[in-house]
């Protein structure tokens, strides 16, 4: 699927969640070996990505991994330098395709003098079969705010208005670019609820995020993008079982580089002789650790948090593909 040499084949675990949700094997939207260069920056380096009917795919990656670029390609807002983009069986630049797609993009400023109703009515006018106004307001949780100007809304309400704009055409496919970034925990969870309801109502969603927690809470499938490449394409459960490793803590006189060289060490934090090592399997690492520093103390072994798994995953990728340095090789 991703063509990357990985210890576990993605199909092993991915099958379950896909068969549960997929009415079809054919994706609603797809990137195939997509490359995108902006001058010297090689933002996407051969990305394969598919979104199937009724599926929520999380495109997860650190800042600058190419997530927004992937969304722009799927929306026809940028042309791929190489590779193929197909959305709803056509070119995403076609108005006919755009009528079936809704997008929530990262936008610095939305016109603030227009009311929620005016914004929604303008966007509804673009579609042949818009979502009824009342339903739109209800789904996005904007009841009672229709006459409020956009500039007078709270951050969470503004984000829900942008979600409503994305839904105004009652789209088949929703592309949400970092929908919850900058929101507080409560507003984020409220938006998660709305997104879950949309998926259970049969819509297909691609959501980009740099929070593993968000991908884990929402997605049927997680595609991890690092430096313009797909590193993993799997279910959240599979990712956790493969990467949510163990956390080893101890007091040691070893240096950071020595700790990183231990078998299976994925990440190391070292502060005043207190080390914390995240790894896949603790036993071989602890054995090697005790050989190299027989004097170590305060040894503790626990399970790593999800974000550590993500860190392990991305760090691992940076190691196995040294060509992935920013700036491009050609």
């Amino acid at each position: 699927m991703t063509g990357l040499p990985r210890p576990a084949a993605p199909q092993e675990l991915a099958g379950d969640s896909i068969s549960a949700s997929a009415a079809g094997i054919f994706p609603l939207a797809r990137l195939r070996q997509a490359h995108k260069r902006y001058g010297k920056i090689h933002a996407l380096r051969g990305v394969d990505l598919a979104i199937r009917r009724g599926e929520l795919v999380a495109l997860l990656g650190p800042n600058g991994a190419g997530k927004t670029t992937a969304v722009k390609l799927l929306l026809g807002l940028a042309r791929p330098t190489a590779g193929e983009v197909r959305v709803l069986g056509g070119d995403p630049r076609d108005a006919a395709v755009r009528r079936g797609v809704g997008a929530m993009l990262q936008v610095a400023k939305v016109p603030e003098t227009l009311t929620v109703r005016e914004h929604l009515e303008a966007f509804r006018s673009y579609y042949p079969r818009p979502m009824p106004f009342g339903r739109l307001v209800a789904i996005a949780g904007l009841e009672g705010l229709e006459k409020r100007k956009y500039g007078e809304l709270s951050g969470g309400q503004q984000r829900r208005t942008l979600l409503a704009l994305a839904l105004s055409g009652d789209p088949e496919l929703l592309l949400l670019d970092e929908p919850t970034v900058g929101l507080d925990v409560e507003a984020r969870r409220a938006l998660w609820r709305e997104i879950r309801q949309l998926v259970s109502a049969g819509r297909s969603v691609l959501l980009t995020t740099h929070y593993l927690e968000e991908a884990d809470a929402l997605a049927d499938r997680v595609v991890v993008l690092v430096e313009g490449r797909v590193v993993v394409d799997d279910t959240p459960a599979a990712i956790k079982s493969r990467f949510a490793g163990r956390r080893v803590r101890c007091s040691t006189r070893l240096e950071r580089a020595e700790l990183l060289a231990l078998p299976g060490a994925a990440s190391v934090t070292l502060e005043a002789g207190r080390a914390e090592i995240v790894c896949a399997d603790a036993e071989p690492l602890v054995a090697a650790l005790l050989v190299r520093d027989p004097a170590l103390s305060h040894l503790e072994v626990g399970s790593a948090a999800l974000d550590d798994a993500f860190l392990a995953l991305t760090r691992d990728e940076a190691h196995t593909t040294p060509t992935a340095a920013p700036g491009g090789s050609r």
Binding site: L77, R99, V101, A108, E172
Partner: protein
């Protein structure tokens, strides 16, 4: 996943009937007008400055002074400040509006929808025309009410039509500037172009009162031709050919559109736009 792509998996949305497509343009224009009217920092200076200049330079020193055979200052400057005002509404409404919405990502949000891009630009143009018409109406009221301007009914109409039609070439130029400038540089850039070329084109005071250098420069400036067209309707122009003025503005419009189209394409390859 490598299987040939099948399209039978979804039902495409129905096509857009013509009437619904026309409605997009109307809704878009109405929304744009509401948006701009509620921005006093933009709406008030755009509408108020040209009449204010007209009062200061056209009326307060005595509008009945003559600038030529049977032509009063009040009448002459009503035409030239009309051109100045319409041009400002077009350059700011289009140039600054496009630059800001492009730079802040709002245009991208709209371009991701099936909205025809033409509807976006048509709405901005409609609002520029409405603002321009409002400025012309205020100037006419001031001229007739306080400047003793007297013109045949038809001349009022032809002058008004000429002034408002002048929004077109300057909307095109505004579009070009909107794609050239960033969201923060747009206002200073537009001002740095708008104010000097208005002055040098004789829209603030008659060209013959300016040094000879300006009289040689003016025929190379589009607002000069626009001003001359307006002055021609009241018989106060410098005697240039109608076809020359219209032709110059047509060439200017086409060059602006070509420049805007070039920058629009370049924008698509960028990370923002």
């Amino acid at each position: 996943m490598n299987a040939p792509y099948a399209v039978a998996d979804f039902t495409p949305p129905p096509p857009m009937p013509l009437a619904r497509r026309a409605r997009i343009y109307l809704v878009e224009a109405r929304t744009e007008l509401l948006k701009v009217i509620r921005l006093p920092a933009y709406a008030i200076p755009t509408i108020a400055f040209p009449p204010l200049f007209y009062i200061l330079f056209g009326l307060s020193f005595g509008g009945s002074r003559s600038v030529g055979p049977s032509m009063t200052v009040a009448t002459y400057m009503m035409a030239t400040y009309g051109a100045f005002g319409v041009m400002g509404a077009a350059l700011f409404g289009f140039g600054v509006g496009v630059a800001i919405e492009r730079g802040q990502g709002w245009m991208l949000v709209k371009r991701a929808t099936p909205m025809p891009v033409a509807a976006y630009f048509a709405a901005k143009m409609a609002v520029s025309v409405v603002f321009g018409a409002a400025i012309v109406a205020i100037l006419f009221a001031l001229g007739a009410g306080f400047g003793g301007v007297q013109l045949p009914a038809l001349t009022w109409l032809v002058l008004a039509g000429t002034l408002v039609a002048g929004a077109l070439p300057f909307c095109a130029f505004g579009l070009f500037l909107g794609y050239l400038a960033g969201p923060n540089s747009a206002v200073p850039i537009v001002n740095l172009i708008y104010l000097p070329i208005s002055f040098a084109s004789g829209l603030w005071m008659p060209l013959r009162l300016l040094p000879g250098f300006f009289q040689k420069l003016a025929p190379w400036l589009p607002p000069y031709h626009y001003g001359q067209l307006a002055l021609k309707t009241i018989g106060a122009d410098a005697g240039g050919d109608l076809a020359t003025h219209v032709g110059a503005l047509a060439v200017f419009t086409l060059l602006s559109l070509a420049g805007a189209a070039f920058l629009y394409r370049r924008d698509e390859g960028k990370t923002w736009g």
